[in-house]
């Protein structure tokens, strides 16, 4: 009966528009919810005879999966760049410029040697030379200590990221299970997908990952090296264990990997990416190299100065051959072994006016040292400082680049999935009108039915 069909059509329209209004309302409510992707009610005409109204085919999320993949990659690059910048900022702080630098202390040491060559027998000048040597040793020790602490910090940050990675892997696996179940029952799992995307974003900042979608709605998560971190509802477990490698401070460094069924650790590869990858790369690369360079500076300075000081031809103020000025095995423990200023071998005879050995000490400042690739001490330190400055600057610039790219991806994501109030309120008016029209349909059908009943009386 056509009038009853009209009633039914009106009813379907009322329900459909009510649902559309609900979806719009939900979008408006989540306008400021981080990670929320706007949703759209998909209306479909009911095809039966001349038409039997409208039905809700589903509520879909407006998401570009390719863009989501790029967002994950960008989160990894940004996390890596920011972690690198942060530690390199601290590293360059250990090699300050100006009067507080190792270079300045070296200059003062050689200036004191110059004064010693002018006044070889003066105890005050000799004491000043020893004090300057102590300043050089203290500055090198301080810089090396700072780098060693930073390497330990990088190691601890890398190890500290493991529980967070495990938590996020568990979360993704749990959401996979919930989403697959909802999808199987035909329920709406859009909010759960948003939550999973949020968890993956967080994970990607810490470690480089890519995802592979499954038919049941779940996603597998793979590390950069290709090892599976999440397979459906199963999450792998990462672990940080004391490894065989040692840090600059002599203590064991962590070995990080995925726990295999037999309990062994499967390495994450050479470049796991993200903050974790940046911390491991700094720990094993830049900071270890910087530390080795400071060691080379310290041991070469020790050897070259001691060679002059203990030269068999050299004589101290008491006319005997000098003993070593510097002692230590590297930058961390470089120290001044000589305590008596009379012990400085400034002469090459017992004459109090002899300054031949002091002049040899002064000449060290201009000497190209083979162990330092032909550089002088100051030039070697200058290039070391410029190198770490260059790395810090490059890291800063990389952060700017990665942030710009991340902003561009976020803008595109917002472009596709963000909530626009203008759009939503336009839809609100549209669906309200639809709802009102459906109500009018029912009213008309009602009046027609009344008319029919009057005819029967």
């Amino acid at each position: 009966m056509a009038i009853l069909d009209l009633l039914s059509i009106g009813r379907s329209s009322l329900l459909a528009h009510q649902r559309a209004l609900t979806t719009t309302g939900n979008n408006v409510a989540n306008v400021n919810t981080p990670g929320f992707s706007r949703q759209r009610t998909v209306l479909d005409s009911v095809a039966a005879g001349n038409g039997s109204g409208v039905r809700v085919a589903g509520v879909e999320q407006i998401v570009d999966e390719l863009l989501e993949g790029r967002a994950l990659l960008q989160a990894t690059s940004l996390g890596e760049a920011e972690a690198r910048r942060e530690l390199l900022d601290v590293a360059e702080g250990n090699l300050p410029i100006g009067t507080a630098s190792i270079g300045s202390a070296l200059s003062e040491l050689f200036a004191a040697a110059s004064a010693l060559s002018t006044h070889p027998a003066e105890i005050g000048v000799r004491s000043d030379f020893l004090a300057r040597a102590e300043t050089v040793a203290a500055r090198i020790r301080s810089a090396a200590g700072g780098i060693a602490s930073l390497q330990r910090e990088a190691d601890e940050r890398a190890a500290g990221a493991v529980p967070e990675v495990n938590r996020l892997l568990d979360r993704v696996a749990a959401l996979n299970a919930t989403i697959a179940r909802a999808q199987a029952l035909g329920e709406n799992a859009n909010e759960l997908r948003d939550q999973r995307r949020g968890a993956l974003d967080e994970l990607a900042r810490v470690i480089g990952v890519r995802t592979v979608a499954r038919e049941d709605g779940s996603v597998d998560v793979l590390a950069r090296s290709g090892i599976a971190l999440v397979t459906g509802t199963n999450a792998a477990r990462l672990e940080a264990r004391p490894g065989s490698a040692t840090g600059v401070d002599g203590r064991s460094l962590h070995e990080i990997g995925m726990v295999a069924p037999d309990g062994s650790l499967i390495p994450l590869g050479d470049d796991p990416g993200g903050e974790l990858g940046a911390h491991l790369a700094l720990r094993d690369g830049t900071l270890a190299t910087l530390s080795a360079d400071l060691d080379l500076l310290a041991t070469t300075l020790r050897d070259e100065v001691n060679a002059v000081q203990t030269d068999p031809a050299g004589r101290d103020l008491d006319g005997v051959v000098g003993t070593a000025l510097f002692a230590g095995t590297g930058a961390l423990d470089l120290e001044v072994a000589l305590t008596d200023p009379r012990g400085i071998a400034a002469a090459q005879s017992s004459s109090t006016g002899d300054n031949a050995n002091a002049l040899a000490l002064v000449a060290l400042q201009k000497t190209s040292v083979a162990a330092l690739d032909g550089a002088t001490f100051n030039d070697y330190f200058g290039s070391l400082q410029a190198r770490i400055g260059g790395l810090a600057r490059e890291a800063e610039e990389q952060v700017t680049v990665e942030r710009t790219l991340a902003d561009a991806v976020a803008a595109q994501r917002e472009n596709v999935s963000g909530v626009s109030l203008e759009e939503e309120f336009t839809d609100l008016i549209r669906f309200e009108r639809g709802f009102q029209a459906a109500a009018q349909l029912i009213a008309v059908a009602d009046r027609l039915l009344d008319e029919l009943l009057v005819l029967r009386r």
């Binding site: 306008v31 400021n32 390199l88 900022d89 360059e92 090699l95 300050p96 410029i97 630098s101 270079g103 300045s104 070296l106 200059s107 003062e108 050689f110 200036a111 110059s114 004064a115 060559s117 002018t118 006044h119 027998a121 005879s349 004459s351 109090t352 006016g353 002899d354 300054n355 002049l359 002064v362 000449a363 400042q365 201009k366 100051n378 200058g382 290039s383 400082q385 410029a386 190198r387 770490i388 400055g389 260059g390 810090a392 600057r393 902003d407 976020a410 803008a411 595109q412 917002e414 472009n415 596709v416 963000g418 909530v419 626009s420 109030l421 203008e422 759009e423 309120f425 336009t426 008016i429």
Partner: protein
């Protein structure tokens, strides 16, 4: 290509713009408050390396300047001492000339021998001149025993009165070379002491000092030659001081050019950034305009 502008993108763009401007303002303020454009190695890695090299050079030159200052004092003292020594020799030559003809009496010659002995003592005292406790004609050595024995000391030998070192004192005259600052005392005073001692002994014995005049003349030539040498070294030191001063000045200017902030430029940039910040904040008011202002429910 952005085709949809949402509330989220409005806010993100605004915050990003504000963040960038605030960072640049903070950098400019840092430049102004410290007066430095380069405050850490990453601000200008190659500039830091150049400035570091210039600082090393400056400190080395400053140390050289201190050496030159010491050299100027020592050379000045040597010159003044030798000037006095020349005066003593001149007086001795006068005495020798007066008594060389044999017209004076034996008594007169024995009397004047006392004055010559005083001249010899004065000359030996001059030969032991020290600066800051260091003997300027004995390789700048120090110690309680002077390099020249005195006339009345036991064991005094006028032909070998010097016990100081035979080496000269070498001073840094440039970053990679040295300069002789002293001459061993026996080479400077040896002929003069021997000649005066011979004059004194001849006169004291009542003899006629016929050959002393020539010996004194030759000793004077030695002192004059040493003074000329001192003058040459002093000129080299003076030139060195001028070179060091001008190089230090240039190095300081170059360090400043690398590290110091150009205040006028920074202030202009700061003003521009503040205007941009205000404009950006003003543009944020657009966010307050919404469809909600235009529709009625």
């Amino acid at each position: 290509m952005i085709s949809r502008v949402t509330q989220g993108s409005f806010v993100r763009d605004l915050l990003r713009g504000l963040g960038r401007l605030e960072k640049r303002i903070a950098d400019a303020q840092g430049d102004l408050s410290s007066g430095k454009h380069v405050r850490e190695p990453s601000d200008d890695p190659s500039g830091v390396e150049r400035a570091s090299r210039l600082r090393v050079e400056s400190r080395e030159l400053a140390a050289l300047r201190e050496s030159f200052s010491f050299a100027t004092s020592v050379l000045g003292l040597q010159d003044a001492t030798l000037d006095q020594a020349e005066g003593l020799l001149s007086r001795a030559q006068e005495i020798a000339a007066q008594h060389a003809s044999g017209l004076s009496t034996t008594d007169a010659r024995q009397q004047v021998a006392i004055e010559v002995a005083d001249i010899e003592r004065a000359l030996l005292t001059l030969a032991n001149t020290s600066f800051d406790g260091r003997y300027v004609f004995a390789g700048l050595t120090s110690g309680p025993t002077p390099p020249f024995l005195q006339l009345d000391d036991p064991g005094f030998d006028p032909l070998d009165p010097y016990s100081g070192p035979s080496q000269s004192f070498a001073l840094r005259a440039a970053t990679d070379e040295t300069m002789r600052l002293t001459t061993p005392g026996d080479l400077v005073f040896g002929p003069a002491i021997a000649a005066i001692d011979e004059l004194r002994a001849t006169l004291a014995a009542g003899g006629v000092p016929a050959s002393s005049f020539e010996a004194l003349d030759q000793a004077t030539d030695v002192l004059t030659a040493e003074r000329a040498s001192i003058g040459a070294r002093a000129r080299r030191v003076e030139e060195g001081v001028v070179d060091v001063q001008s190089t230090l000045l240039r190095a300081a200017e170059r360090i400043a050019a690398i590290e110091e902030a150009e205040v006028t430029e920074v202030v202009t940039e700061l003003t521009r950034l503040q205007a941009a910040l205000q404009a950006t904040l003003e543009s944020g008011r657009v966010l307050q305009s919404s469809i909600l202002d235009h529709i009625r429910f």
